[in-house]
Each structure stands twice: as C-alpha cells, then as structure tokens.
C-alpha cells in the first residue's frame, strides 16, 4: 500500500526520512518555517508545485495544529515525527491516531510512549522485571524522615562497594533537563539540601516530590538499538557507546559496538555486559509490547554493573551507527526505512539470527560551536562546505555545498553527521582521523570573524572512545 507521509521535522533527518520514503516508494510532504527557507530539506524538494507541491510553509515546527492542517490538506496518511519535536509526545501521537481523520503515527503506539516517557514509571516496571536501575527511590518521596533513611542506605551501599567519596543526587521528581538536582556527599548535609530541593520543586513545579539516587561518576553511556513490529517480532542492532558529550550533555561522538577490548582494559567481561544489556532491553520491550524502533539507554559503571537509564521511544540521531555494524544479507540495513515499514504494519520479516555484526563505526556530530567557550553556538554565514566521499563513510546534512548558507538562529547550529566505519575499531578510528582532515568548512560571522566548528575537538577525542 502506498502511503503519503508528512515529515514533521527539519534538517538532515527530514532529508533522511524523505530518502527512505523514496526508497520504499511512498509519497511524502515536507514542512518548513521561514527561518529554514534556504535549508536543503526545503530547497531540494521545492520544484514541484500545484497538486504535487512537496514543501509547505508553516508558522512553527512545534505547533501540532500546523502539521495536521498540512497533513489533511495534502491528504497524507501518515506522519513521521523524526527526532526531537513531537517524536516522544504521546499526546501528539494520540491525537494523530484518534482524530476524526486518523493518520498513522510512525513511532510506537501512544500508550507505550506515555508509559516509557514517564521515567519513574519506567524504573518501577524495570525493577519489577529484575532489570537493574540506578539505586534509589522508585517513587517521589514527600517525607523527610523517609528521605533521610534512603539517603543513608545509598551512601552506605556505596561505601561497602569501596567507593571512597560516595554521593547521592537529590532531584525534583517533577523536574527535568537538569533543573533542581543537587549532589550530597555527607549525610549531615542531607536535610538542608532535601528541604531546598523540595521547596524549589514545590515552587517551580507545584509538587514537592523528591527523588534520591546514587550519584554515579566514572561510567560509560551505552545504548541498545531495538526494532520491534506490531506482530511481536523484536530484534536488536547491537550496542553503541555515546559517553563523550559536550558540557550541556549533548552527544558529540558515538561509536559501535558499545565496548571493545582493544580500547581499554575493562575490569569486566565486555561482551558479557553487552549481551546482558541487550537481553534486559529486549525483556522490557517484550513486557510493554513495544512495536517500533527504540533505544534503551544504559549506564555501565567501572565495575561492569549496568543500570537502565531510560527508554527513547523514537528514532535517534545516531541510529545509523548501529546500522553500519549490522549486516542483513550482507547489506547494512536502513533503520528509518525499517521503522516506516513496521509502522505501516509490515512484519520485520527476518530474525535476529540473520543479522551479522561486523566491524566498528564512529559518528561525528559536526556543530558550529566554540568548544573552548562552553560549546557556545556559533552563528553566521557558511561559505564553504566540503566533505570527502568514501565507500566507508556517510554524511547527512541540510547544509548546501553549492551555495552560501546562513545558519538559522532559531535552532541548534548542527551542521552535519559524518559516519565512518571499518573492519575493526582501530581501522574506524584511523579512517575517522583521515576523514576529518578532508573536511573543509568555512564561513564568517556578521562581524567578519572566521567560522568556528568542533572539528578539531572531534579529532582530539577519537582516542577517548570506548574507554573509561
């Protein structure tokens, strides 16, 4: 059945989705705002008008009414939310699917987005299934005495594990995005901090509930890429490691697989841990009847203990890192294509056994930013934008190479994603360095100052990949 998919996103992911649609033979529609009118995701598809008009100008990417208005007007049958924006908004997913003119939401069903979007709930469900989560409260605490005894227990546990400077985090249960989080090292400090956080939470979010958990330092951030269908099929595409992040906890380099013994002398059996997190992820996916692509995020401590962090119920930026080390019928799969297929009701059609994992892959997120000054975004005009072409690399970008481009100021200044892969991690690292050498990005600010990117930062951090 031929679908018509509205791509409710911008930039490189919009282009990737459009390509996937073309590959699958589906029709699609793009949306854009005035600030993005020079972006490749618009310009490339702007030539068709009239009945076949592909790009539509809207007032905001974050207004669901605009998206549905275009979807109805262009007779779309499905909506792909990409990542960010509406990708994990269960209300949007629900509205799309229950409205008078229902559409297919390309993502998990809304109930799953809702349940897994609630971190506290996810933690509760995981614990019931015996899946480890970061030690701490599984529900908001409102009582000071109770809170203190939890804090005491958590600090003691860490000391027993031989951690010299144990600490815990006190978080506003209703908070998010790093707001209302305080670290406590000694029990004597606890009451004071607890009260502060509680009052903050009450003021800010109208609910004084507080969460307390062990503060983990020195860990690796792992992700498990899953693909599930509405027919109960569940397969994985291995693990990736995205420990290297900017100060704002934005990912900059990712690699797959999650660990590699050649990179670091782990204190645990790396393969065993990777297998474990994959198994746990599949277990939770089965329990909630997960039915689309999704990422299970894990924290692995230096001693090899994994903890489930959260579930991202969307296609992620870095999905391709996993795809590039996976082979089905000797070909690297395209996860966006797979996502659209299963969302439209198809079966996956192959089993885990048919997927062979081979080699390693690294993703670089090329961003216009000043890495020396707290990764401050850079804004200006790009005058040169050249990437090398190799059969072991891929580049995804919305920035044109054939004309000048003003970075729109409404969004993060992400310029491109570059992936390189090789037979092993050493080769991938080597190719990554060589690749970055061949990238040329030039531009200037309104004041005539030269362009700043994180290319050098990326090159410098290659050696840190998959280490503690």
């Amino acid at each position: 059945m031929k679908a018509k998919i509205l791509i409710a996103n911008r930039g490189e992911i919009a282009i990737r989705i459009a390509k996937a649609c073309e590959d699958l033979g589906h029709d699609f529609v793009m949306i854009y705002t005035d600030a993005d009118k020079d972006s490749e995701h618009v310009v490339r598809y702007a030539d068709q008008t009239g009945k076949d008009q592909k790009v539509w100008r809207i007032s905001s990417y974050t207004d669901p009414n605009e998206i549905l208005s275009i979807a109805d007007h262009t007779s779309c049958t499905a909506i792909h939310p990409g990542y960010g924006f509406f990708s994990e908004d269960f209300r949007f997913a629900r509205r799309v699917t229950v409205r008078d003119r229902p559409l297919i939401f390309i993502g998990p069903k809304w109930e799953v987005i809702k349940d897994l979007g609630d971190k506290i709930n996810t933690k509760k469900v995981a614990n019931e299934l015996g899946i480890p989560t970061i030690p701490g409260t599984s529900a908001p605490i409102y009582n000071e005495m109770e809170a203190e005894s939890v804090a005491e227990k958590l600090l003691l546990e860490q000391r027993e594990q031989g951690i010299s400077d144990p600490s815990i985090l006190v978080k506003a249960a209703a908070g998010g995005g790093g707001m209302g989080i305080e670290e406590v090292h000694r029990l004597e400090q606890f009451r004071q901090v607890y009260r502060e956080v509680k009052n903050y939470a009450k003021r800010q979010f109208g609910d004084g509930g507080v969460l307390i958990e062990t503060c983990l330092r020195d860990y690796n951030h792992l992700e498990v890429q899953l693909l599930c269908s509405q027919h109960g099929e569940r397969i994985h595409f291995g693990t990736r490691n995205c420990t290297i992040q900017s100060t704002g906890r934005q990912k900059r380099l990712e690699a797959a697989p999650g660990f590699d013994d050649s990179c670091f002398n782990y204190a645990f059996d790396a393969n065993d841990v990777l297998e474990k997190v994959v198994d746990y992820s599949l277990k939770l996916a089965a329990h909630v009847r997960y039915d689309n692509v999704g990422t299970w995020e894990w924290i692995v401590a230096r001693n090899g203990q994994p903890y489930l962090l959260e579930v991202n119920t969307r296609i992620q930026v870095e999905n391709d890192v996993s795809a590039r080390i996976s082979y089905y019928k000797k070909k690297q799969p395209n996860l966006i294509r797979e996502q659209i297929r299963v969302a439209l009701g198809a079966k996956i059609g192959y089993s885990q056994r048919k997927i062979k994992f081979k080699g390693a892959c690294i993703e670089f997120r090329i961003v216009a930013e000043d890495t020396g000054r707290d990764f401050a975004p850079w804004i200006g005009k790009i005058t040169r934008f050249d990437f090398p072409k190799h059969d072991w690399s891929a580049v995804y970008t919305q920035v044109p190479s054939d004309r000048h481009y003003d970075i729109p100021s409404d969004f993060d200044p992400n310029l491109a994603l570059a992936l390189v892969w090789g037979d092993n991690i050493a080769q991938a690292k080597e190719r990554g360095r060589a690749f970055l050498e061949e990238v040329f990005i030039e531009g200037e600010t309104s004041a005539g100052e030269p362009m700043m990117t994180n290319l050098q930062y990326l090159a410098e951090n290659i050696d840190r990949l998959l280490t503690f």
Binding site: N65, R91, R95, G206
Partner: protein
C-alpha cells in the same frame, strides 16, 4: 392678585406633577387641562378677579378629581416615577420634621466620605400624659436630595455603607435603636475597596446579630443597596414607595434581551414594573414588609407636614412593638390595648411610655425573633412538597438526628478528653440510645415516609456515565470533539491552539501554556472534587417556582428543568473531600444562570442548618451565579438577609464556612451569603463582582477595564483569600479545611 398668582403657580405645579407621575401629558387629558390653564393664566389681566377666582376654582376641582383618578390608577411604574420625583420628601425632611434634634455623624453635608449615606444621632420625643418623653435613636439612611449634586442619587458607595455599619456599631455600644430610612435606587456598583458587594455582605452579616432594635422603612428600595441597611426587626414601607429586585428599566433590558445602546420600549418597562411586584401592597402580601405607612394622594412631598407626623408616630410605635415583644407577649398585648384606648381619646398622636433599653435576656429574645423572622421570609416562594404529614415526618426525622448529633458532639464534648480512647464504644452505645428513644417515632416515621425516596445519588445523574474517552475518571463531554480552540491569551502569551480532547480531558480545561481556565460543566467538579461515590444529595425535590406568576416564566423554568434534569439552580449534598465530611451548597450555571430564588435560598438555609446539626464544614461552591432571580422580585431579594442569617448562626455556632467562586459570580448572592464568608477563594480565570460591566457603564457612565472583575483584582482588593488552580482544587480545599477548620473541622 398675589393670592391668585400663588394659586395659579400651584395649579401648574400640580398639573406638571400628574403628568410627571403618569409619564405623559396625554394621560387623563392633562394636556387639555393644561391648555385651559394657560388660557386662564394668560387672561389674568383681561378678566375680573372674581371671574378669575371661579375659573381657578373650577380648574382646582378638576385637578383634584384628576389626582384622585391618578391615585386610583397608579401603576408600578407610576410609583417609581413618584419616588424619583425631585419633589418627593427625602431623609433630610424626615430628620427635620420627625425628630426633635439631630447631629450628623461621619461627615456633614458635602464634606462627607459619602454624602449619599447620612448617619445621625437623633432624639425623638412623644407626649405621654402631658409629659414629654425623649429617647435617642441612631438614624441611618440614604439622602438623594438637599444638595443633589453631591448626593450621587442616593447610590451609596462601599465606603458609605461602611460608614453606616460603623454607626450601627456605635448604636449597639450605646444600646439605642436604629431607624433605617431606605431611599436608594441601588448601591453604586464599584469594586473599589472593598467592593460594593463585599460591603453589603458585611453590613447584612453584622445586622443579623446587631444587639439593638432595628426599624427600617422603605421609600425607594433598590435591591442590594436597600439590604445594606435594611436587615431589621420591623420593616415598614411608605405606601407610594417601591421595593424591587432591580430597576424596571434594568429588568426590562434583561428580560427583553435588549442590547446595549438600544432604547428599551416604554411599554416593556411599564409591564416589567408590574411583573416585579414592587408596590407596598404587593410587598405586604408577600410578607417582605410588616406594615405600610400611608402617604397623601400621589405621594408625600417635602411639605407634607401631616405626613411627617404620621411617620413619627409609626416609627415610635414600631420601635415600641419590637421592644415590647422582647419582654413578653403580655406586655405587648397590654400595650396594644392601651394604645387603642388612648387613640380613641387622643387620635393618632397617642403614645405609650416604653423604654427602648433592653437587658441581656431581652436582647437574646430580640435576636431570636429576628432570626425567626428571616427564617420565615421568602417562604412564600416555595411550595412545600408533600402533605402536612410529610412535613411532620421530616421534622421528626430531623429532630431525631439532631438528638443523635447532640449526643455525639455536645454531650461527649465535655468528656472528650477522658473518653477519647473509648470513643468508638460510646458512639455505638449512643446509637442504641437513639434506637430506644427514637424507636416509637421511627415506626411512625416509616409510615409517613414510605413514599419518599432515600437520598438521591448524584452519580447516576445525567451525563455522568457518559462514555469515557481516555482516562478512567470522568471526562468532560466537551472533550468528545475533534477540533481546536484559541486561548484568549494567545496573542499576548503565544499560546497555541488547544485540541479540545486534550484541553477538556487531560488538561482539565486549562491552557497548558498560560494557565487560562476554560469553563467546565459543574459535573466535572462533582467528580473531581469529592471522594468517589461520596456524594449524597438532599432536598433534590425542592422545586424552583414562579411565585409572582410572571408571565412566560413558568415556561422558561420548565425548559431549565428539562435541560438540566434538576429542579433548581442549587444542589445541596453531603460529600467527602479526602475523607473529610462536608456539606456542600452548589450554584451552577445551566439552570437559569445560577440565579437565586426562594427555593435556592431555602435549600441553602437547610444546608447550613444541616451542617450545623452534623458539625460539618459548609462549602459553597459557586460554579456561576447571575444574582437574584429577578422574576421572584423582592422574594428573591429577601433571600439575601435570610441566607446570611443562616450563615451567621452557623458560624457563631462554631462552623467553618468556605466559599469558592468559579466562572462568573455577581450581584445579590455575592453581596450577602457568599460575600460574608471569612474564607472566600476563587478558581483561576473567574470573575467576581457586584454588577457587570454594562450595569456599571449605565449607572456610572464610566467604562471599566476588561479585567475589573478578575479574580486577581478581587484578591488585590481583599475580597478573596486566594486563587486556586482548578487542577489543585481538591488539594487546596482539603488543605484549607484542615488548616482553618482545626482538629474538629468545626473550628471552635
């Protein structure tokens, strides 16, 4: 010649007055008489004095005849015009002519915080057996004349009513009676400190238990403004005055749905004045007043000295009566007899010596009688459903449960500290006691109440079991539609259009961006505010009626009943909020816009009595109220003091009374039994006030800012204590009950 000129002037005056009263020169051919008068006047030098005198005499006779006919055919509107005439007597005339001497308090003439309200300490004396007996009174009343330019037409501002209250308190301190003269078309509808409605509510609340005799008399009784000084032990009314829930023009505009700026047809105003039953006779029949003081033909003017004598006599007599009734019925009968005897001898001037000072016991009786008076008031408007026996049965039932609660609270209260631990046992024991005591009654009771239904469960009511869309709890039926709406703040705050199922489902009708509250149906609150299945409605059968037989209104009531599946705009029920038992009185918008009539008032009073009996907090949740139901006229107006009395007695007995306003709350109820609460709160985005923008524009000529009545401004003015988010209504309510109600939730 001089004499003739005088008579001519007088004739002209009288003719003008008739046409003024009748609203037209056409009435009774006044214009042709006027023409003849002009002919006579213009011929003053042409004809002889004698001839002139005869002609004048004929004219005078004719006019007297006209006046009599005019008097006979006085309509409601004619009375309004009499009262509004600049020739009519005003408070100053009364102070000068009824009282011996007086000192104005709280300002003088123009130099006053509010010259429309006059307070004065006055002496009044009566000749008794040749001796002059002088007593002091506090005179409080509206003044619209003698300096019209600063009297504001007798429309008192909140601070004017506050002044009145202040001097009522002085009267209480000094133990002297209050004579209240009501000459007001209504209160000045401003919300400035503390707001017209708030001040009226405070006045009524204080007057319900003011420990001195209060005698009031109405010349012009404009709704809330009148009640601000009108809650009294004896209510008199001048025969040509009017007492009304709303001005006939205002009533016609509402009833006829006349748009602003359009002229209201005179016939509509006239017929509205009839329908509102505003005359003294109407009011006497409806028992909203106790006696009528007769005025001369076509109403008393400033020079009606005979009439002022009459007023003096009536005021003294009324005060005597009130005082004597507190002593004993015998004393009062004696008085009546004596008075009748001396009247035969001395005519209307007769007085009996009665001292107006009351002792403690007499004061208590005074208050008790005042309480009974208002409890019975406005009952003309309710049809007691069921037979006499049915009523008896419910009284028996009430008595027996009263007995139970008395045991449970009063008797146990004193021992509570010692017996706390065995409380359980004791309560079950007391249940046994009740069985024994109430046993014989119970069988009688069962017999009579067989046909009565057990308390109706609200849960099964309309719309409540409707299909639930997303959540297990109640979802508003408004949510079952795939469309979007614009938040009124979208332009200013950039709110996105809201998808209706989200808005009325998960968001509880609240804009997720700015917190604006969209109105929700009252059922939502029943489901979200109270514990599951805890609601037990009572008095659901009491029916809103059309006591003044207002044409068409019967039909409109039927429509409302059919639409809502309910019988009045007030729902009263027992419920629990997080385990706390409360009695709730709820006004909701769907039924005649939440207006209050006799039935609603009676239901409210019964709810207050029930809360008092059961020692439970009383919550008034006002989903919306449009004010007093104007089709019930002054029967509606008297619900204001009646319900306030119930609140006062409940609170004095130790009750916790909480009011929460939502959507739109205006006029009478806010200016009485709602506004008198110590604990008033509002739901966000609601509006609270005395008069709506249009009425304010009409009366003050000023445009008000769009947010004039907003909850936030009500908070700033000190009217309400806080603004609650609808989604936290339950939490906040529970918290308020706990913090303000204390341990027993019945705070003393």
């Amino acid at each position: 010649m001089q004499e003739i000129r005088k008579r001519l002037t007088k004739i002209e005056e009288r003719l003008n007055y008739i046409s003024q009263v009748k609203g037209s020169e056409k009435w009774g051919n006044v214009d042709s008489v006027l023409q003849r008068f002009v002919a006579v006047r213009d011929a003053i030098f042409d004809i002889s004095t004698d001839k002139m005198a005869t002609k004048i005499h004929t004219l005078e006779d004719e006019i007297s005849f006209l006046e009599e006919r005019a008097e006979e055919s006085l309509t409601g509107m004619d009375r309004v015009r009499i009262v509004r005439s600049p020739l009519r007597f005003s408070l100053k005339d009364i102070l000068e002519n009824v009282y011996d001497d007086y000192t104005e308090l709280g300002g003088e003439e123009e130099a006053s915080i509010d010259a429309s309200m006059v307070c004065a300490k006055a002496t009044v004396s009566a000749k008794i057996k040749g001796k002059t007996v002088t007593q002091q009174v506090m005179v409080i009343g509206h003044e619209k004349g003698h300096g019209e330019e600063y009297r504001n037409g007798g429309c008192s501002k909140p601070w004017g009513n506050e002044k009145a209250l202040r001097f009522m308190m002085v009267a209480q301190t000094e133990g002297i009676p209050i004579h209240a003269y009501i000459f007001t078309p209504g209160s000045f509808p401003v919300e400035e400190y503390p707001g017209a409605g708030q001040q009226i509510a405070r006045n009524i609340y204080a007057m319900t238990k003011l420990e001195v005799p209060i005698i009031s008399i109405i010349s012009e009784g404009g709704s809330g403004g009148a009640e601000a000084i009108g809650c009294s032990d004896y209510r008199l009314m001048f025969s040509h005055g009017y007492y009304s829930v709303i001005s006939p023009e205002g009533g016609a505009a509402i009833e006829g749905k006349v748009r602003e700026g359009q002229k209201i047809p005179m016939e509509m105003v006239e017929s509205c004045a009839e329908r509102l039953k505003i005359t003294a006779t109407d009011n006497l029949r409806l028992k909203t007043i106790d006696r009528i003081v007769e005025e001369p033909l076509l109403g008393a003017k400033r020079d009606a000295y005979e009439f002022f004598k009459r007023v003096k006599y009536e005021m003294i007599r009324a005060t005597d009566e009130v005082v004597l009734k507190t002593k004993s019925l015998r004393a009062f009968r004696n008085y009546e007899m004596k008075l009748n005897r001396s009247r035969k001898e001395l005519g209307d001037d007769a007085h009996i010596d009665v001292s107006w000072e009351l002792n403690r016991d007499e004061m208590a009786r005074l208050l008790e009688m005042r309480s009974k008076k208002y409890r019975a008031m406005g009952c003309e408007g309710i049809c007691a459903k069921g037979s006499f026996l049915g009523r008896l049965a419910s009284r028996v039932k009430e008595k027996s449960s009263k007995y139970f609660y008395n045991i449970r609270y009063d008797m146990l209260h004193s021992h509570q500290k010692q017996v706390k631990q065995v409380m359980h046992d004791v309560t079950s024991e007391s249940a046994v006691v009740i069985k024994q005591v109430a046993g014989p009654l119970a069988s009688v009771f069962d017999f009579f109440t067989r046909r009565q239904e057990s308390p109706a469960l609200l849960v099964g009511g309309e719309d409540l079991n409707r299909e639930q869309v997303y959540d297990n709890t109640y979802t508003s039926p408004l949510a079952n539609e795939d469309r979007t709406v614009t938040c009124p703040n979208s332009e200013r705050l950039g709110c996105k259009d809201l998808w209706v199922p989200d808005l009325y489902g998960q968001f509880g009708g609240v804009c997720e961006n700015c917190g604006h509250h969209f109105p929700l149906e009252y059922q939502w609150y029943l489901k979200h505010l109270f514990d599951r299945d805890s609601i037990r409605e009572f008095n659901s059968k009491l029916l809103a009626r059309n006591p003044l037989n207002s044409p068409d209104f019967e039909k409109r009531l039927k429509v409302a009943i059919k639409k809502t599946g309910r019988r009045s705009s007030m729902i009263t029920f027992d419920a629990r909020v997080r385990g706390v038992e409360v009695v709730v009185a709820m006004l909701y918008s769907n039924f005649r816009n939440g207006t209050v009539g006799s039935t609603e008032g009676e239901k409210f009073v019964q709810a207050a009595e029930r809360a008092r009996m059961m020692r439970r907090p009383l919550l008034s949740y006002v989903h919306t109220t449009g004010g007093i139901r104007i089709q019930e006229g002054t029967l509606g107006v008297t619900q204001m003091p009646k319900c306030t009395m119930a609140v006062r007695e409940y609170v004095d007995a130790g009750g916790l009374y909480v009011v929460v306003y939502d959507n739109n709350s205006y006029a009478g109820p806010v200016a009485s039994f709602l506004g008198c609460s110590y604990y008033q709160f509002a739901i966000r985005s609601s509006r609270i006030g005395f008069a709506g923008p249009r009425v304010i524009r009409d009366t003050t000529g000023v445009d008000i800012p769009p947010d004039y009545h907003s909850a936030r401004n009500a908070l700033k003015r000190g009217h309400i204590q806080g603004i609650w988010d609808r989604r936290e209504f339950r939490t906040n309510l529970h918290k308020s009950l706990m913090t303000m109600g204390g341990k027993s939730l019945y705070y003393r």
